[in-house]
């Protein structure tokens, strides 16, 4: 809204200047001075009109709030359009968007277009043999969980592997059947991975039938804890493994991923529609509020029917650039979280796993993972399980061996070595080139292959240009200097840079007030990307979240 208004003002200003110049050209004759007068009047009328529209728009909004119609429909109009000019410049939404459901048009953000997008087909030739469950993937659990099985034990998929020492009811289960070949330990004897060599023929631990429709919540919770499904729920604020004692206010699921080279979830859900719906049904039993589904209103193609025709959920459309697909951004617009109101988030594939516990009565850890990145010969999707080994997935598929493996996307994913494993919640493996090379006069020369939001690069004038990413810093770390570019890529009512400063100085009240509980790393990842001072924004944010979690 503010941006549009600013643009309008700027146009007026330009008009003003040209008028003055025109008047000057003509000298000081009588004819030209009347032109000047008339144009000034015209400008004044325009400004007046603009002011009237603005004021009345605000008055309308206030009035609407007073008579209590600021419900779904109304929130839709304020959130998405933001006043008269917002409506004027509203992007045309695709036809399939059902306007009776709220649509949020997010204007800020940035899509980083990279080479190496995964082809929408499953590559069956890729089969991982080793899998791991990695305790460091889970925030908020004790670093040394209590093992249930030992090295060398044979497990079935769904058998308990370990549990949290602080909260023993939360159990982690094996994603595949096979032999536990190692319990890897890191610093201070913390368990970093429990690795399993998969059997050729997968065996599953058969779960008992459970009628969740007629059971009470606590029985359902006990059942899910035993089945190992609890770790599928992540709780905001802090993005931790959900509290067993807490009933989430709402549950949020984003059905599209806008991150660079992210998997197309419409393709991923194909064939698991029933399980997805079943998962949603289970979730409605777990929350006191609603299950919200964030739908993609950006593309020409309609999202998958499993999403648009899902039942028992509230649907919200989102139109905008990355990070519009981040669940955190969607929560912010639908119904923000705070320290006192906790919500859960799940990915689409986690919902499917949850659904299959009831449709197939087994813990099915199948994940469709996108192998993407310019350094792969054949970027494609593969069907594997949670925590597959990186080297198994990329075997024979590399163009170049000077690469970095990333579990997740290039913005918020985690760096992995070749013999590491994909993280629990990730459904993407990105491979990009290591950029440890010097660039001559990097501060001046127009480089074509550098993704940037800045217009000082020639690529800014080529729309939809795809880049071959590499991992160079493109500069050295400095203090915060430039302002406003974090905000330009964050479609939320937050001030990320001020928030970072308040974290660095440890101002607890300011952190909370500025909305730290609403954010996790992926929501500010784009800020870190654009940061001119090369600050580690995600790391600072997590530092703030950790202090806040300790205090709370």
């Amino acid at each position: 809204m503010k941006q549009t208004a600013s643009k309008a003002i700027f146009t007026l200003f330009a008009l003003c200047v040209t008028t003055m110049l025109l008047a000057q050209e003509g000298g000081t004759g009588a004819g030209s001075s009347s032109i000047l007068t008339y144009s000034l009047i015209a400008v004044a009328v325009l400004i007046f009109f603009f002011l009237v529209v603005q004021v009345s728009d605000n008055l309308l909004a206030i009035e609407a709030k007073q008579i209590g119609i600021s419900e779904d429909g109304e929130s839709n109009s304020t959130a998405s359009s933001g006043g008269f000019f917002g409506n004027l410049f509203k992007p045309s939404l695709p036809e399939y968007v059902d306007e009776s459901e709220p649509v949020y048009v997010l204007r800020r953000g940035h899509d980083i277009l990279l080479e190496g997008e995964a082809e929408p087909q499953i590559d069956d030739s890729v089969q991982a043999t080793t899998y791991a469950v990695q305790p460091p993937n889970f925030i908020g659990i004790s670093p040394i969980p209590k093992m249930v099985v030992d090295q060398g034990a044979e497990v079935k998929a769904g058998d308990h592997l370990f549990y949290d020492k602080k909260r023993p009811e939360i159990k982690w289960v094996a994603p595949v059947s096979g032999e536990v070949i190692a319990v890897e330990r890191g610093a201070k004897r913390a368990i970093t991975a429990v690795t399993i060599l998969a059997d050729k023929e997968q065996q599953y631990r058969e779960l008992e039938a459970f009628d969740y429709q007629n059971a009470d919540r606590s029985a359902l919770v006990d059942y899910l804890l035993d089945a190992g499904a609890w770790t599928l729920f992540r709780q905001r604020p802090f993005d931790i493994v959900a509290d067993v004692s807490e009933v989430p206010r709402d549950i949020f699921i984003s059905t599209f991923d806008t991150a660079p080279l992210a998997p197309d979830l419409n393709f991923v859900v194909e064939g698991s529609e029933a399980a997805f719906q079943e998962g949603l049904n289970v979730l409605t039993k777990l929350t006191s509020g609603q299950v919200y589904l964030g739908l993609d209103a950006r593309k020409d193609k309609q999202p998958h029917k499993a999403f648009t025709e899902a039942e028992n959920v509230s649907k919200r459309w989102f139109h905008g650039k990355h990070p519009a697909g981040n669940v955190g951004v969607q929560i912010h617009h639908i119904k923000p979280v705070s320290l006192n109101s906790k919500v859960w988030t799940l990915g689409v594939q986690e919902v499917i796993t949850l659904g299959k516990i009831f449709t197939e009565r087994r813990y099915d850890a199948t994940r469709v993972v996108a192998l993407a990145g310019a350094e792969l010969e054949k970027p494609a999707y593969v069907k594997t399980k949670i925590g597959a080994k990186v080297s198994d997935l990329v075997k024979g598929n590399l163009k170049n061996d000077h690469v970095r493996y990333i579990s997740g996307d290039v913005l918020s994913g985690k760096r992995k070595a070749e013999d590491d494993y994909l993280n629990f919640y990730d459904d993407q493996l990105t491979v990009v080139e290591e950029g440890d090379d010097y660039a001559l006069f990097g501060w001046l020369l127009p480089s074509f292959n550098t993704p940037s939001v800045s217009n000082t690069f020639p690529s800014a004038i080529i729309p939809n240009m795809k880049f071959k990413a590499e991992t160079n810093m493109h500069g050295e770390r400095r203090a915060f200097v430039v302002t406003g570019n974090y905000e330009a890529v964050t479609p939320m009512d937050v001030y990320p840079q001020e928030l970072m400063k308040s974290i660095l100085i440890g101002d607890f009240e300011q952190m909370e007030g500025l909305g730290l509980p609403e954010l996790v790393e992926e929501d500010v990842a784009l800020c870190e990307f654009v940061c001119v001072s090369k600050q580690p924004v995600q790391q600072i944010l997590r530092q703030g979240l950790d202090t806040m979690r300790e205090q709370a």
Binding site: L411, D436, N455, T471, N472, T483, V494, E498
Partner: protein, 442 residues
């Protein structure tokens, strides 16, 4: 070529432990030639190509046309005052050389002093040399009068960098604009060198018995004279000529302050003021070239256009008020002509938009820019002591910028709290609830 240059650089790298200061200096030049080969560690894996060096260098690029014009205008004003080569394109070689002889020492002194302090602190604190002074160093010569004594310049730059920046922790930490701080230092410590009618045209001296004369041309000029003479061009000569009749050396603003717009137009045409062939600080005069630089900064998104636009509105608003009031002749100067005089555009494009000292929030920027325009016009028109207002207005608002940001953030905090209470309330009432609207920002 890149490889061999890299190897050359690596060969001459001084030892970090034996000579740390040399190494700091080496590092500054090395990172200037080559973007380091550092890769991302944790957090994002790819980074935007923009870094602080690139950011700063683009401001310097935007200033280049002003350097060119400013240099030439030093010479042009000098000869116009003497009644020689009064056409803009007459005696080009003399004007250019004259300007260069004036501006190069100013540029060198600014950078030697400023960068010297920067390098020293970088070595002391053991970090890389920061880029902040790239811009400050390019701006300072442009806001000085052409005849500024070099020792005063050196002292003022040292004051600005030392007290204004390093004392606060270096680039990104300063509260006041460095370039303006060096100017304001001269303004209050050595006012006769930077205000009044006699400082804006280079090389003109007041004779003891009254009347103005050109200074004698010294050895450097004689050197160029010999070159010009050999290729058949006109020469500087010995100097010491008297100025033309009616010479005052006053800038349009000084004239307007005394006798209003009529006195200004008697001396300078509006076209002259627009194109910038008038006396003044070195870089402030040419309006089209400043606008060109402004557009460059806006298109590349280096500077924030919100501050510029709101500053124009603030100044125009105050000027209109003054027109309506009309108590003095200066107040009656039509509001749009206020933009033709003085350094408004330069201050708007390059001074007010300094991201470190400006407000950091979008709303804050609107307020900040507007108030600079508003206060600056008050200082310009209503204050008899100070001929121009932007330097003081910007420094004044620099001090207030954190306060403006504080209130914008408090508003954000309140808005968030309100939304959360509204949600909690509906939750309590209904069990399940309807969403509250997200606020404007997005």
């Amino acid at each position: 070529m890149k490889k061999s240059l890299l190897n050359l650089f690596k060969k001459i790298e001084p030892d970090k432990d034996k000579s740390p200061f040399l190494h700091t200096a080496y590092d500054a030049f090395f990172t200037f030639a080559f973007t380091p080969n550092m890769v991302t560690k944790n957090g994002v894996h790819i980074r935007d190509g923009m870094d602080l060096k690139r950011q700063m260098v683009h401001v310097v690029i935007a200033l280049q046309v002003l350097y060119l014009f400013g240099t030439y205008n030093i010479g042009h004003q000098h000869f116009v005052a003497l009644g020689e080569y009064t056409g803009f394109l007459e005696g080009v070689h003399l004007k250019l050389i004259y300007g260069l002889i004036k501006i190069i020492p100013i540029f060198i002194v600014t950078h030697v002093v400023g960068l010297g302090i920067e390098f020293y602190y970088a070595y002391k604190k053991g970090h890389g040399v920061e880029e902040g002074f790239l811009v400050s160093g390019a701006l300072i010569p442009l806001i000085m009068p052409p005849d500024i004594p070099l020792w005063i310049l050196g002292v003022s730059v040292a004051f600005a960098v030392w007290i204004g920046k390093e004392a606060f922790g270096g680039t990104g930490m300063n509260i006041l604009n460095i370039a303006l701080l060096s100017r304001v230092f001269i303004f209050f410590a050595y006012p006769t060198y930077i205000s009044g009618d006699e400082v804006w045209i280079a090389g003109i001296e007041k004779a003891a018995e009254g009347g103005y004369f050109a200074q004698a041309y010294g050895g450097v000029y004689q050197f160029f004279d010999s070159i010009f003479a050999s290729i058949g061009l006109s020469t500087f000569g010995a100097g010491g000529n008297a100025v033309v009749d009616g010479y005052t050396g006053a800038t349009p603003l000084a004239l307007a302050a005394k006798e209003g717009w009529g006195a200004v137009t008697a001396e300078y045409s509006t076209a002259q003021m627009w194109w910038g062939t008038i006396p003044g600080s070195i870089g402030e005069s040419s309006k089209p070239l400043i606008i060109l630089g402004t557009l460059f900064l806006i298109v590349t998104k280096i500077a924030d256009w919100k501050i510029m636009v709101s500053m124009v509105f603030g100044a125009a608003f105050m000027a209109l008020l003054l027109n309506a009031w009309g108590a003095t002749e200066f107040m009656e100067v039509p509001w749009y002509y206020q933009f033709y005089m003085g350094s408004f555009l330069f201050a708007m494009a390059f001074m007010a938009t300094d991201p470190v000292t400006a407000t950091s929030t979008a709303t804050g920027k609107w307020i900040y820019g507007f108030l600079i325009g508003f206060v600056g016009m008050i200082v310009r028109v209503l204050n008899p002591a100070y001929p121009e207002g932007w330097m003081l207005a910007i420094l004044f608002m620099n001090v207030f910028a954190p306060l403006i940001d504080h209130y914008v953030l408090q508003a954000n905090i309140k808005r968030r709290a309100k939304r959360l209470t509204a949600i909690a309330k509906t939750q309590d009432e209904e069990g399940t609830s309807a969403p509250a609207p997200a606020q404007a920002q997005a």
